[in-house]
């Protein structure tokens, strides 16, 4: 049990998950994490490599993953935009790897020392074409430690790249983290014999194919897994709630305080904290829709999750968005004002 920052928590999680290759290029929001990996990874027989830019980091991770190693990269802010092409490549080639993205205030360079949850949709739809992806978001260093391990397990189980989105503030805050109750590890499968990986759909003869059936099979591969992917959704005071706050990441902490205050005022409000962002927590939200009449979506962006949820909810539900765009965090008061207004 130690009092550590998000940087150290994620580094420890990745090391405990048995990461073999960690690639990073110098970006201010990930320095703490990368420094730790550079120091600790060689002691455990792994490799830390500094690449020339963010796409090159993911390129190295793709190569290491293709030959059966656990690979991870860390990037932040606009670095995430640069790596998108290879995320699509890793997804269609079913390469398990972990991409850690520190969400800083954007767009573009923005302010790398402020926090903003602006990359929620980019994590899902950032690359061209359409593909499958899993994204997780922790709200504390403790959760970040656990999610770093879970991310490797999930990526191996479903053979997909997993994106861990972390608020910049979660990286910098310090909390007590217990390393003892870590999840069980899933080990990497050895690679196939004499495989061909390509950005194009590869047919049974190992060449790019134009055959509609082969292309369909390649693109739909794993879609059955897609619906049954284990999602992590935490419910807080939802049993008798008639209104719900939906939130994720560091904003969910303010939302939890808001629920506590509202409960003291005898208002039946609950919190749905979304940890698995993608695939979308559809079932859980459809379940709560039956008993509540009001939803407040709290997030620090233009309402990326709100816009997605609005289309899912029946018109009988009063759905509202509470946002903040100045790089500061939402306060419990702002969320309470949103729900009571």
């Amino acid at each position: 049990m130690r009092f550590i920052s998000g940087h150290e928590a994620i580094a420890q999680g990745a090391l405990d998950a048995g990461v073999n290759l960690f690639a990073a290029s110098p970006e201010i929001p990930i320095i703490g994490l990368s420094d730790r990996m550079a120091e600790e990874l060689p002691k455990r027989g792994g490799k830390f490599v500094q690449m020339e830019d963010a796409p090159a980091c993911l390129g190295a991770a793709v190569g290491a993953s293709a030959v059966g190693q656990k690979a991870m990269i860390a990037t932040s802010g606009p670095g995430f935009a640069h790596v998108q092409e290879l995320i699509g490549y890793a997804s269609i080639n079913h390469l398990p790897l972990v991409v850690l993205q520190v969400m800083t205030m954007g767009p573009s360079t923005g302010l790398p020392n402020l926090s903003m949850q602006g990359d929620i949709m980019q994590a899902r739809w950032g690359c061209n074409g359409d593909y499958q992806i899993i994204a997780l978001i922790p709200s504390s260093p403790k959760e970040a430690y656990e999610l770093a391990i879970i991310a490797f397990n999930v990526s191996e189980k479903y053979r997909l790249p997993v994106i861990v989105l972390v608020d910049q503030i979660t990286m910098e805050m310090r909390e007590i983290v217990d390393f003892r109750d870590n999840p069980k590890l899933t080990h990497r499968l050895p690679p196939r014999h004499h495989f061909v990986l390509s950005g194009s759909p590869i047919g049974s003869d190992g060449m790019p194919t134009h055959d509609p059936k082969e292309i369909k099979d390649l693109n739909y591969q794993g879609i059955n897994n897609w619906d049954s992917i284990d999602r992590i959704i935490c419910q807080y005071e939802m049993d008798d709630a008639n209104a719900a706050i939906i939130s994720y990441g560091v904003t969910a902490r303010a939302a939890k305080t808001a629920v506590k205050i509202l409960r003291q005022r005898k208002q039946k409000v609950g919190l749905l904290k979304v940890t698995t962002l993608w695939p979308w927590p559809r079932d859980e939200i459809l379940k709560i829709e039956k008993k509540i009449h009001k939803i407040v979506v709290a997030e620090t962006n233009w309402g990326q999750m709100f816009k997605g949820l609005r289309g899912m909810c029946p018109t009988s539900i009063d759905i509202r968005s509470v946002i903040r765009l100045d790089g500061r965090l939402l306060t419990p008061k702002e969320i309470i004002d949103g729900i009571t207004a």
């Binding site: 490799k47 390129g59 190295a60 190569g63 290491a64 293709a66 690979a71 004499h194 950005g199 190992g206």
Partner: protein
């Protein structure tokens, strides 16, 4: 007379491939593929010891015909993916096949950094002096004034000398050969694969389809005529070398290789 399949080529080719290959009739990429296979055979490498990575373009299809683990990378990413493979499995012989556009335009930074790191990869740059697969647009090696679809009034840029570029970035092995001299090209690739560090082979070729159609036989004869071996070139003056291609091992030096450095550091840390 019936043509007998070459046992060396048969050993390394993937079985059940659709042949003739994807390349245009008369294309010189096949010569490089044959040279690569002969070089791999001369190094006596088993198929499981070889890893091929290719970039985009016509040359990117070569690994699909060779029966080893292979990756066709998105544009410009071939050397970074190859670096990941080499770092993960240092015992593999990783050969990277690049076109001139992929190596110098999209992946120029990766090429530069492979030289800086001296990572144990072998890059074969198939230099057709144009981005042929998309229609022959200018690449960094296209001659000045050449008329192409993106430069209908002549290419405004002067071509880059890959050897000099990489030497200044700390490259430790650079060789050049034209595809007319197929046996010499195979020997050069063999030497490059055996080199400890980042080795680059430039295979000079001509795309006879794009941007302008020409006779493939005349193209090969031209490649025969402009090739000057490096020993002979050192005796010639600048005017006589104009329009010629200097072939052979242009430079070779020794410097610690990246994965060996990692191994050394790892041993030191772990005791």
């Amino acid at each position: 007379m019936e043509l007998q399949p070459n046992p060396v080529i048969q050993r390394y080719l993937r079985q059940g491939k659709k042949l003739p290959a994807f390349f245009c009739p008369g294309c010189e990429v096949g010569i490089v593929m044959g040279a690569l296979i002969r070089a791999l055979n001369a190094c006596n490498l088993q198929k499981d010891e070889i890893f091929l990575v290719s970039g985009v373009g016509c040359s990117g299809r070569i690994p699909m015909y060779i029966d080893t683990c292979s990756i066709q990378a998105p544009q410009g990413m071939a050397l970074t993916i190859a670096a990941g493979v080499k770092l993960a499995k240092p015992h593999l012989k990783v050969v990277v096949l690049l076109g001139d556009g992929d190596a110098l335009s999209f992946g120029g930074n990766a090429l530069l950094h492979a030289c800086i790191r001296n990572i144990g990869l072998t890059a074969i740059i198939l230099n057709g002096a144009s981005m042929s697969i998309s229609g022959g647009q200018p690449s960094p090696t296209t001659p000045y004034g050449k008329v192409t679809s993106f430069a209908p009034y002549g290419n405004p840029n002067h071509p880059v000398n890959i050897g000099k570029l990489l030497e200044s970035a700390g490259g430790t092995f650079f060789g050049r050969q034209t595809v007319y001299y197929a046996q010499e090209l195979a020997q050069l690739i063999e030497t490059a694969i055996k080199h400890n560090g980042f080795s680059v082979v430039e295979a000079a070729m001509i795309c006879h389809v794009r941007p302008q159609k020409s006779d493939p036989v005349k193209a090969l004869e031209h490649l025969r005529d402009i090739a000057v071996p490096v020993e002979k070139a050192s005796k010639l003056n600048r005017e006589k070398l104009a329009g010629k291609i200097v072939t052979g091992i242009i430079y070779r030096s020794a410097r610690p290789e990246l994965t060996e450095e990692y191994e050394k550091a790892s041993k030191k840390i772990r005791g």
